[in-house]
Symmetry: C2
Subunit: 434 residues, 2 copies
Amino acid sequence: MAEPLRIALAGLGTVGAGVIRLIEANGALIAGRAGRPLQVVAVSARERNKDRGVDLSPYAWEDDMTAMAARADVDVVVELVGGSDGPALTLARNALGANKALVTANKAMIAHHGLELAGMAEAAGVALKFEAAVAGGIPVIKGLREGTAANAIERVYGILNGTCNYILSTMESTGRDFGEVLKEAQELGYAEADPTFDVEGIDAAHKLSILAAIAFGAQVDFPSVETEGISRLRAADIEQAAALGFVIRLIGIADTETGANGAPTLFQRVCPYLVPHSHPLARVDGATNAVVAEGNYSGRLLFQGAGAGTGPTASAVVADLIDIARGDVGLPFSVPAAQLTPMARADAGHRIARDYLRFMVADRPGVLAEITAAMRDAGVSIESMIQKGRAEEGGAVMVSIVTHEGPEAHVDRAIELLEGSSSLVEPPLVLQLL
Amino acid sequence: MAEPLRIALAGLGTVGAGVIRLIEANGALIAGRAGRPLQVVAVSARERNKDRGVDLSPYAWEDDMTAMAARADVDVVVELVGGSDGPALTLARNALGANKALVTANKAMIAHHGLELAGMAEAAGVALKFEAAVAGGIPVIKGLREGTAANAIERVYGILNGTCNYILSTMESTGRDFGEVLKEAQELGYAEADPTFDVEGIDAAHKLSILAAIAFGAQVDFPSVETEGISRLRAADIEQAAALGFVIRLIGIADTETGANGAPTLFQRVCPYLVPHSHPLARVDGATNAVVAEGNYSGRLLFQGAGAGTGPTASAVVADLIDIARGDVGLPFSVPAAQLTPMARADAGHRIARDYLRFMVADRPGVLAEITAAMRDAGVSIESMIQKGRAEEGGAVMVSIVTHEGPEAHVDRAIELLEGSSSLVEPPLVLQLL
């Protein structure tokens, strides 16, 4: 058998420990498939003396994880530290700068610095792989980079955050409100103590920007992802959606358009969508992720599985290591980093959509007239409107509207017209129908 | 840009013509991703003068397709002729024997000769790829060979034949019988004039044997796939299943067991299964395919998309060509052919299952007693039994039984006990619950 692939592993949280366990448990199988063994030679983490349930004594310990890249006995560095900058980024730069391959699960770092790191990897002629950064154990980066490589991708979208999907499907099945379900999810370990990145859609936006770059040959552009989380959703929204034949899911969606100057522009949005029951994404419950890629020859492809968790994430990290052991260097974003196109953010205003609008309004005469007048003045055509009879929270009443198809700009204009109205007790919630 | 990858294409049916169209339409995109252009240099088919909707004048024509492998200006041969033997196999052997890579969509050839061809490819150091042979445009071969490579695969199963799935989901939605729906499918071009390979499960068995080889490191063993098609299903079976909360889908399923001597044995079955409504495969309708792989770290992964059709199949063929253009040789079955284990066929008798049994019986006293006595004597525990009141086809009455969980051998024994009984007007139908 050929020489082992020698690995330095930084970050020994649950995923890092999981990678070590996986390599130990499936080692013979992996060596058979990769043509050579995977061998962890060095490890590093913030704290040395912590019980992680794995025996670290076979591996060299580095106090300074960023120094691991300098080890002569290492072929590839695995970065599982997290954070878009800081030690993770220093380590990544050091590794690629030292001509060592890099495998990472760090979506924030790739979303912010993917272009730079890909350029470094290509200059060094080494692999930069990040399958675990998007949709956990689902081989969707590979699916897009290789499986659909013959296609112009027309659209890529999916459920990219397991925490949000768990919360939404639990709200749906129990009828409980966001705050209550979040609290339970935190107690069960499905949500972080600070859930902001997950519930405000930032984590999904990181992942979407990576998928979009690969799908469309665009420079990764996380800052231009339009992002709305799930924290403003109420049990009543989900109930209302259900009555209309929809479930609510946090969806990341990206496609390209032709801008005013003829150059391609990039549309990227993470937002709760109303998904019709008949759509495959409507049946994705719990912490599951699912990604749909629509190719101009392949048609619609769906990839579904566990979006997080120790085992699935470790599976994706080790799949990247096996690819590297097999000699697959590849290009991180499918085309050379220098050929990725900087795409302006698409103007969403002319996009045609049906919307769900929810207003919390004061319970007094004339409020409905005010809302419907704004709709009329903005050119928004109303398909259905429901005012729930019972008052909530100090007299506020919920009014929900579903529009006919029309340009997004019209709905934006209607919302603008209502801005500052004393009839509204909180800003309106605007969701689209998928 | 580097030298083009030079392609000889044999077989110019709808898929062959589709491959040419795809390479023309997406050529620039593909060259960017592959790092070099794909260039068709020679084509061949049985008939030269036939309008295929593509201009063949840029390409050299070969009357004898098996001679294309000898062309010095060709790097890779694409075989889209079909048939397990004959010209397809001769061409495949010639190509690999001449150290040229081979891409094929030919499931029958890989199911019958995959081991030999993989050995030839490995000896020559060239690629043998067959993504299009299984599940059309879905990158499931890649998913298994690379995406889940870190995992011991516990089970692989799925909907592998679009024609059967179309027929079953149409029977379900229209309440019509098999023969009628098949005829319509033939008129619509969804089923072949001779539908045997599809409706008797042979096509699905070809595909399953390929998936099983990759998933379990087993020698491809098509002859040992237990195969039952859909032609015996009646509208009444589907109705009965629906009443119980199930849909009927033709599923191919494979896993491994430990045989009596401690060596692994291979279980492979293609059969209509009763699939609970809550299962993701229950929602796969029409000509769609879907494959589930269960890894010991990744958990359950689902790959879904178009299982056939010109565009999706061409997409898979060209994805293989892009992999080859990128320098990915790989191993056809993930491990070297010589390391694939010959696995004996697993003894299914001890497997625990719940069954749906359907009898067409004579409408006379004592028949139910005879059936239930056979069940009792064989140790089969009955969960529910329904006799439909109205007589069909010359007095035959339908009796359907759902069993409690028990060994398959017990059900086999019960069926044996009833063999030759004059009460049964046709052999019983036995389906399992997934």
